[in-house]
Symmetry: C2
Subunit: 248 residues, 2 copies
């Protein structure tokens, strides 16, 4: 993952992309009427070529579009590639965090049960082993109250499962799901000691996948997500009605 600004080696492109991207997501450029390349150059102190490369990337995400004589225009949010990992990350990092978490939870509710069912058909023995190993890890660290280690196993579990589905579209959601799980542990509320019921459900999924029981894998995964969704709704009581976004 390309870093933003922290040391390593400075990367002007990644850096400005990150800044302009978050600025756009936050709506900090919504009121700029005549957005032009020149303005991007000045705002971020970069050369024309560098600015163009950044704008081209945002264009590829359907966030911007630029035309001759008219300049750069911010496209309506409804046209953005909402599934782009960067865009998701930017939204999670901003004021839309709660809304984005809700949307992601809904996406997980849709995808993960189907992925579990597919995994029951496609998972290799190695993947099954990794799933049970992750469950054991969750159980041990969960009982010990080591939330950080628990999170690592939880992330591993869901990552392996998405891979094992054999569907590359599902697999590409791995990082995003990991980020949601991490967010739950780090920023938002997570019980001091994970629910034993949750761990049991993970075990059920692992077992169902290992025995090729797609229906049970599906059902158990639904259980996990129902729990996650209610936890989400507990943390953000007011289910934001979708139109409270920053701009339009």
């Amino acid at each position: 993952m390309s870093d933003a600004s922290p040391a390593g080696t400075p990367d002007l492109h990644a850096d400005v992309l990150e800044r302009l991207g978050t600025d756009l997501v936050a709506g900090r450029l919504a009121d700029v009427s005549d957005l032009r390349l020149e303005l991007v150059e000045e705002r971020y102190g970069i050369s024309r070529t560098a600015a163009r490369e950044v704008v081209r990337v945002l264009e590829a995400m359907s966030v911007l579009s630029s035309r001759r004589r008219v300049g750069i225009t911010i496209r309506p949010r409804s046209e953005w590639n909402a599934l782009d990992p960067r865009l998701i990350r930017w939204r999670l990092a901003g004021a839309e965090r709660a809304d984005q978490l809700r949307a992601l939870s809904e996406l997980r509710t849709a995808v993960e049960p189907v992925a579990a069912a597919l995994a029951a058909r496609h998972a290799t023995p190695e993947q099954c082993g990794e799933l049970t190993a992750a469950v054991i890890g969750m159980s041990v660290t969960g009982q010990a109250g080591d939330l950080e280690a628990y999170l690592a196993h939880d992330v591993r579990f869901h990552a392996v499962l998405l891979q094992a589905s054999g569907n590359e579209l599902f697999a590409s959601l791995t990082d995003v799901v990991a980020e949601v799980l991490a967010g739950r542990t780090h920023h938002d509320l997570m019980p001091a000691r994970p629910e034993p019921a949750a761990i049991r459900l993970h075990g059920d999924v692992a077992e169902a996948v290992a025995t090729g029981d797609a229906a049970r894998a599906d059902a158990a995964m639904r259980g996990i997500l129902a729990e996650a969704l209610t936890a989400m709704q507990r943390a953000f009581p007011a289910p934001v009605p979708a139109d409270a976004a920053v701009q339009r």
Copy 2:
């Protein structure tokens, strides 16, 4: 949507992006050991700056990565942003078409029922009206055997439904779903006269959404997708085992 090469006005960037992108997806550059910017310049007859802009976009899709002294490298396919609309389109256009269609069908199976359930809670009266209008359109054109008009109403139905879910991640799948539906009509097999059962199920979804019956909307949508999935499997009998991709 930025055109590839057809008239309008020539767009070098979009053009080369399209060519390089499809070349990469098709694996036509897999054997090029030392991919370099210079090679991109020569291969497509463009300047360095133009080549860099294209490469930067592919980098943003996690298809390429470039480092000093070492050049451009093609990242393993498992790391590509498989949900990027362009990447999906390129795969649909190439040898991986069948596999991509299967993956997309699985994604639809996951997403659309949940979207329908959400729509049952969030849909506006206007959206409900559009849904029923689309169903009526499907019914009329379906009975008349006008597949092209039928397709238009079908696309409209699923588009409105995804929008009405109130989840921007779902909504951003609209174009992809439309493309799958279009593909079914244009390239692959589609009965000369759409199944009346399919139309009835669409009507059920519309009604359930209108009455706020999430469970029934979910169930009816599952019915639609089950039908679509079996049609897919009929068209491509051998369920390709996920690793028959072009390269690794």
